[in-house]
Every structure is written in structure tokens, then in C-alpha cells.
């Protein structure tokens, strides 16, 4: 039975950064991931990572932009930490080997990004996430003797001792089907977001909300779950992401009448307003009949010099060519807002600690909350790294202070029982894929850019029905080697839990703030709603609660771009 000081679940940027930090702090570390670490969805982050590193920039400016971007729902103490520590993190990455692109003098180069008052986004062409993820994995290989990697292991359950502390997990070796108990003094969840609960989404197939649901099920509160980011530029057909870097490099948005409509909605920042603002503007244009017949808007990247596009936006040149049949250096590409990121997650403090002792969370699975109602582009990579590192350090510190816990004796047989129950399901129910599709389409219809009470009520009804149906969905594969069917059944349960939390939080917030726009409550209402909404799993259903927003320097103001 593996036992480690620090156990990390998920091996994207947050998980890998946590592993390196915990190992640096002297802890024995294991990192578990249901996919090989370089397949993690951090790989898809294209545009870059924010930091106020230039002498003429300041962390306060970065923090203010982030606070304003969050529509004042971000916790300012955590935002201050993130923005203060950002420059050193960039330098750490640079020294670790990330091939950041340079400016003309050979120093780190920057590009402009949405909602930012300075060009402070550091980048590697438009494969920044990939470059950082692969470099961190280089470091994991380098420290192979101190960090045990369990690649292609699927976590099924978090374990608790009698006092309620998290003491490890049960995971299934996907290759053999064998279950194993992992004991740990500290457990860090870093298993990403839940985009697959929406269809379409920019998120990968693996983003099924595993960590959010696992923590929720053992009593950890979730926070800001109603805040779902719709990215302004995704491909209509399949939801693939076109990086904000395109607009950062100078691309424009036009409606079907050829109007650069952002002039109306954000006269100062235009295409580089916050994502919620741009997505709403696009959706309004589309809803009011000024979009193209396929319900899209045109993104014109031909405004960017062609050579610059080929060098700095190569990936979306490929995506345009391969997945939309468009040469973006020659003609506009049609896009629309698409589900991209979940600001909410497992509630943590600025060291990644959840209210459950021994359980940490970092990255998209967590809600610190540095993004509040709306995340700025290029702040998510930063979030994963800063709070991944801080979680790793803190978890290693905790491990020095506590003894190796014992997991409950029944842990393994309980987990095996759940898997066996899935394998034993009688055929006759709906297919897992059918339920998943209905969930995704429901969420994307009723819990999207614009929401109202009726739509949310319908969404909740459907999600709750699907929760009844899911346990009867039969599977085809009854083997043990790489049984992806059984994993899909478990993931479906995770997505449904997360979706339910999202819908009830969206119903609860009867105002419009950040990514949550209620057509029945179209104004921001600081008097009644300047607080976080939490969702806890209590008994059978979700219980709503509140948590205060921390305000340090920046009092809420009207938000214009």
C-alpha cells in the first residue's frame, strides 16, 4: 500500500507545480493522474501567463485589473498574493526551462490580453500551456527519485478518518483494473474543471469535475459555482478554442453587417474588454439578428501581420485550417461564445486548504477565489502555478507535523463494491453517452451567457432526472484492462453533482455579476449580493450558504471597459 507525505491527485500545471514544491520542501510525494501528465488539459492554455514583471508595471495594477475583472467578487487578499508572487513565478519557470519568447533586446516579451491595463502576458507562441506543462514534466522526470508518478490511475474516492480528516484516496490502475489505497498525510486535489458538463465546450474530454465532486461528496463546500466563463472566441461547430492572444495581437470582431460592434459595448478596450463583457456583446448581436446565419460572429485575424500570425499564433492557424477549413491569415473565421472555464470550485484559503483537514485544492478544481465572477485571460495559468506551489509547500509543512494516518479498513472493499455494481448493471437503461449529451445540451441552453429563473428551473429539473437515470446506465465493457466504460460511468456521476451545484447557485444569485447575467435581474446589486455563494453536500441534496468577499484596497465601482 503506497504511503506518502503528500499525495497529489491530478497532474496538470497545479498538480505538477505542487509536486515539485512539496518535494523541494522535503516531503515524499506521489502524483496520481488519470491520464499521462502531458495529456492534462493545461496543455490547451494557449495565450500566456500574466505577471507584472516589467519595471513600469506594478502588481497593484495587475491586482486591480483582476479585481475589476472579477466584478468585485474576487477575494482581494488572495488576488494580492497571486499578483505579488507572479513575477518570481515567471522567473522560476524561465530558469526551469520554459522557452518564453523574447522581445527585441532578448528579455522576456509580452503581449496584450483582455481586461489588462498593460501588456503583461508572457507567452511561448500560442502554446504557452503546453510549453510550461512539458517543462514541468521535465522537472518531474528529473526528480523521479523523490516524486512517485502514478500515471493512468483513476481516483474513485477520497478517504477520511474518524475525525473527518482526509487521509488518502482509493485509485484504480487503469491498465490492470486493480484498486489500491493510497495513504497520505496531506492530499492535494488538482484535477481541473468540469467543462464536459456542457456541450459544446472548449474543455477536453477528461474535464469531468472529478475533484470537485469527490471533495463535495466528503463534505467540502463549493464556492462561486454559478460563475461559468463563456470564452468569446470558440468555433461554432465543435467548440474549439481560438486563443484570446488573437485579439491581443490585434484581431477584430465584426457582426454580419460588418460593424465592429465592440465600439458600442466597450468603447475603450474594444475586443480586449473582459471575457464576460465580450461574450455578452457577441451573444446580444447574435440574439438581435446581427450575427451570421449560423449564429456566429466574425473574428478577423487578417488585421495581424501575416508573419506575426505564423510565428505567434501558429496553433490557431492550424486549428482554422484543420477544423474549420479557414486560412485565418487570409479571411475571417466564424466564432461564438463557448463554455470555457469554471471560476468556482472547492473553497480554499490562500494556502490551498479546504475546510476539511488534510485536504487541499489548487487550480481550476479550487476556488480561492481569485477570479470571482469572471477570470481574466492568462490568469488561470498563474492561478494554477501560484496556488499549486503554495499548496505543495503548505501540505509538506503539515506532513511534518502529523503522523502517517491509517485509512479505514473497509476502504478497498467499499470502492470495489461500487465498481462491481457498475459492472453488474442490467442492460435496458439509457446509454451513458445519451445522458451526458442531454446534460451538456441542457447546461449550454439554460446556464449559459444569459440566464433566467424559468430556464434555471428547467435545467434543475432535467439534471435531477438525469441523476436518477445515471445509476441505471449500462456499460458494454466488462473487462479490467483499460475499461474506459466503467470510468465514464463514474465520471458521469461527478458531472451531474457539479452541474446540480452550478444550477442551484445560479438560481440563488438573483443579480447580474461577472459571468452570471440574469435577464430577470439585469443589474449588479452590491447591497444584497456582494458575497460568495457556497454549496455543500449535506445529507441528500445541495445546501446553499454564503461566505464574505474579502475587500482590502479596492471598493466596488461601476465596471466599464
Amino acid at each position: 500500500m503506497p504511503a506518502h507525505d503528500v499525495l497529489i491527485i491530478g497532474a496538470g500545471l497545479a498538480g505538477q507545480r505542487a509536486a515539485l514544491a512539496a518535494a523541494d520542501a522535503g516531503a515524499s510525494v506521489a502524483i496520481i493522474s488519470k491520464v499521462h501528465p502531458v495529456r492534462s488539459h493545461s496543455v490547451a492554455a494557449a495565450g500566456g501567463i500574466n505577471a507584472a514583471l516589467n519595471p513600469e508595471d506594478s502588481w497593484e495594477s495587475h491586482a486591480f485589473d483582476t479585481v475589476k475583472g472579477s466584478d468585485y467578487l474576487g477575494d482581494q487578499d488572495a488576488i494580492e498574493i497571486m499578483c505579488r508572487e507572479a513575477p518570481d513565478e515567471i522567473l522560476w519557470l524561465e530558469h526551469a526551462g520554459v522557452t518564453f519568447h523574447r522581445n527585441g533586446t532578448g528579455h522576456l516579451g509580452t503581449r496584450a490580453f483582455g481586461g489588462a491595463s498593460q501588456a503583461r502576458t508572457y507567452y511561448v507562441a500560442d502554446i504557452t500551456g503546453q510549453a510550461i506543462l512539458h517543462v514541468l514534466y521535465e522537472r518531474l522526470m528529473m526528480h523521479g527519485e523523490r516524486i512517485s508518478r502514478y500515471e493512468e490511475w483513476f481516483t474513485t474516492t477520497l478517504l477520511q478518518d474518524d475525525a473527518g480528516a482526509c487521509v488518502g484516496c482509493v485509485a484504480r490502475d487503469i491498465r490492470s483494473g486493480a484498486l489500491e489505497v493510497f495513504d497520505a498525510k496531506s492530499v492535494i486535489l488538482a484535477s481541473g474543471g468540469a467543462g464536459q458538463a456542457f456541450k459544446p465546450t472548449t474543455n477536453a474530454l477528461i474535464c469531468t469535475g472529478d475533484g470537485i465532486a469527490q471533495a463535495y461528496r466528503i463534505g467540502a463546500p463549493l464556492m462561486d459555482m454559478e460563475m461559468i466563463q463563456y470564452h468569446p472566441t470558440t468555433l461554432a461547430e465543435n467548440g474549439f478554442l481560438i486563443t484570446e492572444g488573437a485579439r491581443g495581437e490585434g484581431a477584430h470582431l465584426y457582426n454580419a453587417q460588418g460593424e465592429r460592434f465592440m465600439e458600442k459595448y466597450a468603447p475603450n478596450k474594444l475586443e480586449l474588454a473582459s471575457r464576460d463583457v465580450v461574450s455578452r456583446a457577441e451573444q446580444t448581436e447574435i440574439d438581435e439578428g446581427r450575427g451570421f446565419p449560423d449564429g456566429t460572429i466574425a473574428l478577423d485575424i487578417t488585421k495581424v501581420p501575416r508573419k506575426r500570425t505564423l510565428e505567434a499564433l501558429r496553433e490557431i492557424v492550424n486549428i482554422g485550417k484543420d477544423f474549420a477549413g479557414v486560412d485565418i491569415t487570409r479571411e475571417p473565421i466564424h466564432i461564438k461564445p463557448g463554455m470555457h472555464y469554471i471560476m468556482g470550485g472547492v473553497k480554499t484559503d490562500s494556502d490551498g486548504q479546504t475546510p476539511i483537514p488534510g485536504l487541499y485544492a489548487a487550480g481550476e478544481v479550487a476556488c480561492v477565489s481569485v477570479h470571482g465572477g469572471n477570470r481574466l485571460g492568462a490568469n488561470s495559468l498563474l492561478d494554477t502555478l501560484i496556488f499549486g506551489r503554495r499548496s505543495g509547500e503548505h501540505a509538506a509543512g503539515r506532513a511534518r507535523a502529523v503522523a502517517m494516518p491509517r485509512s479505514p479498513v473497509s476502504a478497498l472493499s467499499d470502492a470495489q463494491g461500487e465498481i462491481d455494481a457498475i459492472l453488474d448493471r442490467q442492460s435496458g437503461g439509457r446509454r451513458i453517452s445519451e445522458i451526458k449529451t442531454e446534460l451538456g445540451e441542457t447546461m449550454n441552453r439554460y446556464v449559459a451567457v444569459y440566464r433566467d429563473a424559468d430556464g434555471l428551473a428547467t435545467a434543475l429539473e432535467i439534471v435531477q432526472r438525469l441523476k436518477q437515470e445515471a445509476p441505471h446506465a449500462a456499460i458494454d465493457d466488462h473487462g479490467t484492462v483499460f475499461n474506459q466504460d466503467v470510468l465514464a460511468a463514474i465520471e458521469l456521476g461527478y458531472m451531474l453533482d457539479v452541474a446540480e451545484a452550478i444550477v442551484v447557485a445560479a438560481q440563488e444569485r438573483r443579480e447580474s455579476r461577472g459571468a452570471q447575467f440574469r435577464t430577470d435581474y439585469p443589474e449588479r446589486n452590491d447591497e444584497d449580493w456582494l458575497h460568495h455563494i457556497t454549496v455543500s453536500h449535506d445529507g441528500d441534496g445541495p445546501q446553499l450558504g454564503t461566505a464574505p468577499v474579502t475587500i482590502t484596497k479596492w471598493q466596488p465601482q461601476a465596471r466599464t471597459y
Binding site: 491520464v35 499521462h36 502531458v38 495529456r39 488539459h41 496543455v43 490547451a44 524561465e94 530558469h95 526551462g97 522557452t99 518564453f100 519568447h101 523574447r102 522581445n103 527585441g104 533586446t105 532578448g106 528579455h107 522576456l108 516579451g109 509580452t110 511561448v124 507562441a125 502554446i127 503546453q130 510549453a131 512539458h134 522537472r139 522526470m141 528529473m142 500515471e151 491498465r175 477536453a204 474530454l205 465543435n238 474549439f240 495581437e249 501581420p305 501575416r306 508573419k307 505564423l310 510565428e311 501558429r314 496553433e315 492550424n318 486549428i319 484543420d322 477549413g325 446509454r431 451513458i432 453517452s433 456499460i475 458494454d476 465493457d477 473487462g479 484492462v481 483499460f482 475499461n483 466504460d485
Partner: protein, 395 residues
Amino acid sequence: MAEYTLKLRRYDPQSGEAPYYEEYRVDLEPHRSVLEAILKVKAEQDGSVGIRCSCRAAICGSCGVRINGRPGLACHTHLDKAAQTGVNADGSTILVEPMGNMPVIKDLIVDMDAVHWKKIQRVTPWLINKQPVPEREYVVPHENMVDVTQSMACIQCGACVSDCLSMEVDPEFVGPAASAKAYRFVGDPRDAEQYERLKDLAEDPHGIYDCTHCFTCIDACPKGVAPMNQIMRLRRIASNDHHIVDRNNGERHERTIVGLIRDYGLLHEAEMLPRSYGGYSWFAKFHPAAGAELLDSLPSITRAIARGKVNIKQAALGHRIPKADLTAVQGIYEKVEGKARRYELNLYISGYEDEEEAPAAAEAPAAVAAGGDAMPSAPGPDPQQPTSASESESA
């Protein structure tokens, strides 16, 4: 909509049965990907089909397979194109098999750890920092970072490893993906051990000189990493910049071929071994290693003659090509060798030579100065700019 027949190679290690092929009919638009078709099969017909996949957009590198005999990403191959390419293409049947050169775990899933990742580990795949590490960033030319971006663009999908012919012959060959990974450090001016890395890979009998320039990896790569180009660049830096003459005779062999083509316009087979082992001297023929290699190669030589691939007379006396042609060949050498700096092609900076630079490009802070002319340690647009990290200091 069009109807396609997906013919999947199935293998269940628990069944005790040999791999077999199973056919599924799928209705999808022709521009949809092979992965979408497989996922549709999984969703609607048979959830037991095994394939790794995640991003669907050719970024995560999970879904490397062979499609109608060719390696690639399932998500990156359109159905219409897949049905029309490769052996036995009939416009509607698409054969999908697991990648080659790696053991199969189940269906389309291979054991990448056993081969691909082991080889990546082989090349010391992490930056060995040039000392002293600056307080702030290393100050290095933009061109160098853009240059190694081509290798960084590798998504570790294994498509190049799948069909590497050299690896088929020599499973120990470090291979295309790991070599590209090696270039990512060799081409990085912040790395302290360029020489040691190259020496290591040149001296390894399964290292960079084990590649036979078959171009398969360049065709296979869905990301334009062009692994073979990276291998050739490793060789050029090893031999031209560091003068590493390896014990496998790879460097001398390559130099011999380059020299023979310059002198004769075509390969002069009889001169190959002597020159590879003994250099340009007349006495080279008597170099003992050349004799041993000749003896060793006799079976291949005999087969080549028997099959008419080699003409004994031409092989012994050298091929003759018209004088004008030879002059033209030599003109190429003069032009290439006459360049002040080595000319390297790169995905990210080749650009389009025929196009005029748009005026805004000059204003963009990080725009590259010279279209296709950038290369490692090339001075950047600013003459004051340091050309290597050793000259840099904290800002």
C-alpha cells in the same frame, strides 16, 4: 452526411485470443475526424472500444494511431481524407490500428512508457542551467527561443516513433521524438551542456547517426516538428561546431557522402568505405576498419548486385554525369557553403519569402527580423543584443 466503415483492430489481452478486426458503420460529415467517428461508435454501438483521447484538437497527443497504414492523430485526420489515403483506400473504409514499434495494451492503446518515454528519458530531458543563473531571466535572442519552439511544439503523441524505420531495425535507436527533445536543449542557449549532450548522442551506436534520413517521421508528425530535421541539426552542430568525430564513424561517413556528391555528382560506392574510414588519402583503402566493414557488408553488396541495384562497373569507377550537371551540383555547394551562417529551416520563422513585410510587423515588439534566416546564436535585430546567455546579466 456520408457513410463510412470503420475497421478497427481489436485486441483484448484478457480474452487469450489473437487480435482481430471489427467493422462498424458510421454516418458523419466527411470533414469530421476519425476520432469523432470512433467516439460515435463508442457512444452508440460499443463502449468497449479502447482508444486514448482527450482534447479532440491535436494538442494533447493522446490519440496517436495508424490510419490506413499511416501514423497520425485520429482527431487530426478528416474522414474523407482518411478514406482516400493509404493502402487499400476505397473512399469509404477506414482501417484504424494501434501505433507500431510499441507493444499493444488493448485495442488502439499502446504502451508508450515501454518505448517512447523510455527514449525521452534517455536524452537527459531537462535544462541543465548555464551558470551563474541570472537573478532575472536569461537574456537570449528571441530567434533562439522561437527556434526551439519547433521542438517544444512536440506533443509526445508517438506518431513518429510508430513508423520509424530505423527503430524497426534497431529497437534501441533513440528515435525521432527523443532526438527532437534533445534539440530542444541543444538549441537552447541557456543550457550548459550542449557539447556533452551532442557527444553523448553521437557516440551512442543507437544515437543520432542511427537515422537513415527516410523522412517518415516528418510525414508522420501532426505538429510540423520535423524530427528528422532536428536530428540533422544535431549532427551539423556536433560536427561543424564541435568537431565531434564519433566512434561509430557516423560523422566521417556523412562527410564522405557530402564530398562524393560534390566531386562526382552521384555517389561513388567504391570510395565510400575507404573515405569513411581513412579520409581522403590514397592509402585509405587499406584502412583495416574499412576492410572489416567491407567484409561485413559483402552480403548486402552481393544482394544489391544480384538485384541490379548496383552496376559493378559504375560502382567501382564512379558514375559519370554530364559536365553541365556536375557544375550545377557544385554550384549548389558553393552557394550553400558560401553563406556566412548556416541556413536552417524552421516552422515558426520560415514565413513566406514572397510576401512583403506589413508595416505593422516592424512595430510589433517581438517581430522576427529576418524571415527565414534566423538560426541558433544568430544576432538579433538589435546589434547591441547579447548573442549568448554567458554574456547576459541580470537586468
